[in-house]
């Protein structure tokens, strides 16, 4: 079986995006499965973005930004993130999206290896869960 998971990662410009960029420059091994979407702050991420990513075919989604309490470039943008994400996790679970398909956390600009590690392990984790393929699985269960 040749399933290649499609992972969408929403990364904040100042921290995790910088780490991902540095990891790339340093040629750290990262799977091609992760598509990165740069946002200025994880506080910009509405739950709707994550839901839409899954609805449009993502098998896994990552949200990652600056460590609270002090690293956020906009002071408390990431406070909004840690208020939203736990609630979103529960809703995703009630939608039947398995634990392990959605990851949220903090990776600073200086933690490039941590990003590469996350990209690798998360891709394998999602590979193990199999394709989510939301639109197709919806259509195939209808008759």
């Amino acid at each position: 079986m040749n399933f290649e998971p499609k992972i969408i990662a929403f990364l904040c410009n100042w921290c995790t995006y910088t780490a991902a960029d540095a990891a790339g420059v340093a040629r750290m091994e990262q799977p091609a499965n992760v598509d990165v979407i740069r946002v200025m702050c994880t506080g910009r991420i509405e739950p709707m973005f994550v839901l839409k990513a899954f609805a449009e075919g993502a098998d896994g989604v990552i949200v990652s930004g600056c460590h609270p309490p002090g690293d956020c470039h906009y002071t408390n943008g990431n406070f909004k993130t840690f208020r939203r994400m736990p609630l979103l996790e529960r809703v995703l679970s009630q939608f039947g999206i398995e634990d392990g398909r959605f990851h949220w956390g903090w990776i600073s600009g200086a933690e490039a290896p941590k990003w590469a590690e996350l990209a690798r392990t998360f891709t394998e984790q999602v590979r193990g869960l199999g394709p989510l393929n939301w639109k197709d699985q919806l259509a195939s269960k209808e008759d």
């Binding site: 509405e46 739950p47 709707m48 839901l51 839409k52 899954f54 609805a55 609270p68 309490p69 406070f79 909004k80 840690f82 208020r83 939203r84 736990p86 609630l87 979103l88 529960r90 809703v91 009630q94 939608f95 039947g96 999206i97 989510l132 939301w134 699985q137 919806l138 269960k141 209808e142 008759d143």
Partner: protein, 319 residues
């Protein structure tokens, strides 16, 4: 004398509340009678499906279609009435967002079947009989419609000209739309009519201040103040994530809005908007505290997606 408007009203998977909403026009119903002929309205008029099938295409000027698409019969009528109507209006929350029937999308056909016909405490079914779409009876065949796995909205099924939100739409708003139809003053095709372009908060009379919620409460846990915003007090009120126009009636009796008028303008997924609104007002400066506060929200999906599950981005729980 102007020709009378040819009007039809139909209910798919619905509760009849949208019909009673028309009855709530009260004496204005007599005006409707003067300007329109009701060609088809099963709750009140004896016209049958065969009468609709016999009409030429486009014969009906306006069809107000309420109810979600749950069965093959609902789907058939959606297509039939689309064909026979010049203007098709998705009337009410079921047709627009899926409303309560849409909550069945949290389950699948098998589990719902098992409960209703085999597991329910009062069921007495030793032969494990279950409804079948085709039945050979001693006298002939009886068919019943097929139940689809997933509830769809009218908008997801056929081309819809206008949308009137609400569960049900409020009578003054229905009247405003009827007036617009009769006067030929409807806006561009695809518009939401019978509602405003703001949220319910705009019409609500409670005082809104800076929100800083340390704990969410369930309605039976507190007796809220009548003047302060209910959301400020920790009750989950869907007002900020719901289109306005209903008059904010629920909050006048200090009960939080549940979101029956659907998403506000430009919002694609009402549940996501309400989820975001709840999280945004959490008063927490640490991850642990934030997790604790939002952890106090029981049944998030049933709260945020009460009306809009079928129309949401994901549509249903994964089967």
């Amino acid at each position: 004398m102007a020709e009378k408007l040819k009007l039809a009203l139909y209910w798919a998977a619905s509760c009849g509340g949208c019909e009673i909403a028309i009855v709530e026009l009260r004496e204005k119903l007599l005006i409707v009678d003067q300007v329109a002929d009701i060609l088809f309205w099963p709750v009140a008029v004896d016209a049958k499906y065969k009468d609709v099938e016999a009409m030429p295409d486009g014969h009906i000027d306006v069809c107000l279609f309420n109810g979600a698409i749950r069965t093959s019969e609902n789907e058939h009528l959606a297509h039939l009435l689309r064909k026979k109507s010049k203007v098709l209006v998705a009337f009410g929350s079921c047709a627009n967002e899926g409303c309560m029937p849409g909550l069945a999308n949290l389950y699948d056909r098998q589990s719902i079947f098992d409960y209703a016909y085999l597991e329910s405490p009062s069921v007495d079914n030793p032969n494990k009989v279950v409804p079948q779409t085709q039945n050979k009876m001693p006298e002939g065949e009886i068919q019943i419609p097929k139940f689809y796995q997933t509830v769809k909205t009218l908008t997801q099924t056929v081309d819809v000209d206008y949308h009137i939100p609400g569960c049900p739409p409020q009578a003054p708003q229905i009247w405003a739309v009827i007036e617009a139809i009769v006067q030929g003053k409807l806006p561009a095709k695809g518009s939401v009519v019978g509602a405003n372009e703001k949220t319910v908060c705009d019409e609500c009379k409670h005082d809104r201040k800076e929100k800083a919620v340390k704990q969410f409460y369930r309605t039976y846990e507190i007796i809220p103040s009548s003047t302060q915003c209910l959301f400020d007090q920790g009750l989950i009120c869907a007002g900020p994530a719901t289109r306005g126009g209903c008059g904010a009636l629920c909050t006048t009796v200090d009960v939080p809005c549940r979101g029956c008028y659907g998403p506000p303008p430009h919002v694609v997924d009402q549940g996501a908007a309400l989820m975001s609104a709840c999280a945004s007002v959490v008063d927490a400066d640490t991850e642990e505290e934030a997790a604790r506060i939002v952890g106090g929200i029981a049944d998030p999906i049933g709260t945020f997606y009460r009306f809009g599950l079928a129309a949401s981005l994901l549509h249903r729980r994964k089967i």
